[in-house]
């Protein structure tokens, strides 16, 4: 405390401004004490930040160097193969490649196969035999040459950037790559596709569309050996707005394309006729931020409800964090609370982790949601937190929000206890201080 206002270098100033009575009063100032739990939360945050910070210079640099070296080595090997062989391999690759670079790690989804469906080793040998290996001049008199390793590196990087477009935010979109057949039509496969679409079309009549879309998943599995071919055919059918089986085509294509379907699904969501089916696909494959954007971009309460439920169901830190932000908004709070009932297995652990968040509104929103879930195991854990002095105020906020009889009994008992009564009152005030009035929400 330096009520003398810096005696080391400002003595002239002090003499003119010195006021003993005022300094005495200022000295008596008492701010709220720093709490142990606040310091431990901040220390935990620092540890987390420190780990992230340490990762950046070492592992990331090493990973980039290793990747660059690998590409360099691979390109060097390819350069030895020869221009025409290289080109024929590239053509074979392109034919076999529906847009399949984005890793598809969701369950029950058939993976695109790597080999082209009509791959014939003999064809390539024949083609190689007929190739003139001498470089020839083109019309401008320029002799074509192999790309240098550096040029290949730039090319590979550009292709990777092209693929990454799929993962960008909801406002950016790119039409799916259109793959033209270039081969004789396969009657069997077309028939199989038509049957699958007809089966799904029948299913539309009877079953509601949802994110799981089990029927589409099953049918996609039956097509999985030739997934790239089917995906390409279905991709073309999406463009035909008069196709009576368009909705079925979207459902099947969504399962085959996986996360790659997201940009096109966003466009289809904008069309009235395909909105519901596109929404079902987005619920399955769209990222959390994209789902949050869906909630913000619509006034349709049904859409908001299902998307909020999906965010909560996903259970990861980012999705639940976004869900809690919608709990804190006036226009979505009630729907968010209603949507809790949609989720059979609520992300309890994530919500408890949010009780340690440094942002108070997020802590209180998590406490409120935990209170609303309020099964006996959650209530038991919350009461244990109060007794062990582990974020007792947030735990009490959760218990105050709960309608579970055990919680109500605990709160009533705590209100009568000397050392807990003030904390109970403070928890109530904290909840009331939130920008949204959570008390008015139906229980």
């Amino acid at each position: 405390m330096n009520t003398q206002n810096d005696s080391r270098d400002d003595s002239a100033y002090e003499r003119s401004d010195y006021d003993h009575a005022l300094d005495q009063l200022l000295e008596s100032a008492r701010w709220p004490e720093t709490k142990r739990e606040q310091l431990s939360r901040l220390a935990a945050r620092w540890r987390k930040l420190r780990q992230r910070r340490r990762f950046i210079p070492w592992q990331a640099a090493a990973a980039i160097l290793a990747a660059a070296g690998l590409v360099w080595w691979a390109v060097g090997r390819n350069a030895d193969v020869g221009p025409e062989e290289d080109r024929s391999q590239a053509t074979a690759e392109r034919d076999s490649q529906a847009p399949s670079e984005v890793e598809d790690n969701r369950p029950n989804v058939p993976k695109p196969t790597d080999a082209p469906d009509d791959y014939r080793p003999a064809d390539i040998e024949t083609a190689n035999a007929s190739v003139n290996t001498q470089p020839t001049r083109n019309a401008n008199g320029i002799v074509p040459r192999d790309p240098s390793p550096l040029e290949m590196l730039v090319y590979v990087s550009a292709r990777r950037g092209h693929v990454r477009d799929d993962r960008r935010g909801p406002t950016r979109s790119r039409k799916p790559l259109r793959v033209t057949p270039g081969r004789p039509a396969d009657v069997d496969r077309l028939e199989r596709l038509e049957k699958a679409l007809a089966a799904l079309d029948d299913d539309v009549e009877g079953a509601p569309l949802d994110a799981e879309d089990q029927r589409a998943v099953e049918l996609a599995e039956t097509l999985s050996p030739d997934a790239p071919w089917y995906e390409a055919r279905l991709n073309e059918r999406l463009e035909d707005r008069d196709d009576p089986l368009r909705a079925a085509a979207i459902r099947l294509w969504t399962q085959l394309a996986g996360p790659r379907a997201v940009p096109r699904l966003r466009e289809l969501y904008g069309e009235e006729a395909t909105r519901d089916v596109a929404l079902a696909g987005l619920l399955r494959w769209e990222g959390s931020r994209g789902l949050a954007w869906l909630i913000e971009s619509t006034d349709d309460e049904d859409v908001r409800y299902v998307v909020l439920a999906e965010l909560f169901r996903r259970g990861d830190e980012r999705s639940v964090g976004l869900f809690l932000k919608f709990v804190l908004r006036d226009e979505t709070a009630a729907l968010a609370c209603e949507s809790l009932d949609e989720v059979e297995v609520p992300p309890i652990e994530t919500l408890f982790a949010f009780l340690q968040a440094t942002r108070r509104p997020l802590r209180l929103a998590a406490a409120f949601v935990l209170g609303r879930i309020g099964d006996s195991i959650v209530v038991e854990r919350l009461t244990a937190m109060v007794h062990t002095n582990d974020s007792p105020q947030d735990a009490l906020a959760a218990l105050v929000s709960s309608s579970h009889p055990d919680a109500a009994e605990f709160v009533s008992r705590a209100s009568g206890e000397l050392y807990l009564a003030a904390t109970v009152r403070a928890a109530g005030y904290q909840l009331k201080s939130l920008p949204v009035d959570l008390w008015r929400l139906p229980r």
Binding site: M1, N2, T3, N5, D6, R8, D9, D10, Y13, D17, D19, A21, L22, Q24, L25, L26, S28, A29, R30, W31, P32, T34, K35, Q38, L39, R41, L42, A43, R45, W46, L49, R50, R52, R53, R54, T358, R359, R360, P435
Partner: protein
């Protein structure tokens, strides 16, 4: 001329100064929860720019500068997006004499300090409660030393007016 500290030293410095940082933020904001948010964000910024600490200033001055900047950003964001409800503003403008009926004098003084205009508040807290010299406060706030003097004077005058009934008693 200072030189960069290694990571281990930097981590140790952060851990050592965490309680002081939180205390400083509480004095600035007047609210423990808001202070925690400010320090949390300041830690993020410190983690990003730790290499800029080259030991030329004391670590406390360096960390406080980040906290002050974060506090200002949050204050302006709050003013833009979420104006204080009227009743809260009224509460802060309460007549000291009547407010003292319901709370401790020390708490009242703290509340008045934390409700000063932001620049005056920063100077008073740094110089009066954190014990920084005028030059150190000027370094933290990025202003001239003469400005620190002038702002300190204005802040003290304002507090003197608000605390007049208690000063008269003394």
């Amino acid at each position: 001329m200072g030189h960069a500290v290694d990571r281990t030293t930097f981590d140790r410095l952060v851990s050592e100064h965490l309680p002081a940082a939180l205390g400083f933020a509480i004095q600035l904001t007047g609210e423990p929860d808001l202070a925690e948010e400010v320090v949390g964000e300041a830690l993020y910024r410190a983690a990003r720019s730790w290499r800029t600490f080259r030991g030329e200033a004391s670590f406390r001055t360096w960390l406080f500068r980040i906290i002050v900047n974060t506090f200002r950003d949050q204050l302006s964001a709050r003013d833009d997006a979420d104006p204080l409800p009227a009743e809260l503003e009224d509460e802060r403008g309460t007549d000291p004499a009547s407010a003292a009926m319901t709370e401790e004098l020390g708490q009242l003084v703290a509340r008045l300090v934390s409700a000063l205009p932001s620049r005056e508040r920063e100077v008073i807290v740094l110089v009066t409660y954190q014990g920084l010299t005028a030059q150190e406060a000027a370094d933290v706030l990025g202003i001239k030393r003469s400005n620190v003097h002038a702002t300190l004077h204005n802040g003290r005058e304002r507090l003197k007016r608000q605390l007049q009934p208690y000063l008269a008693e003394k």
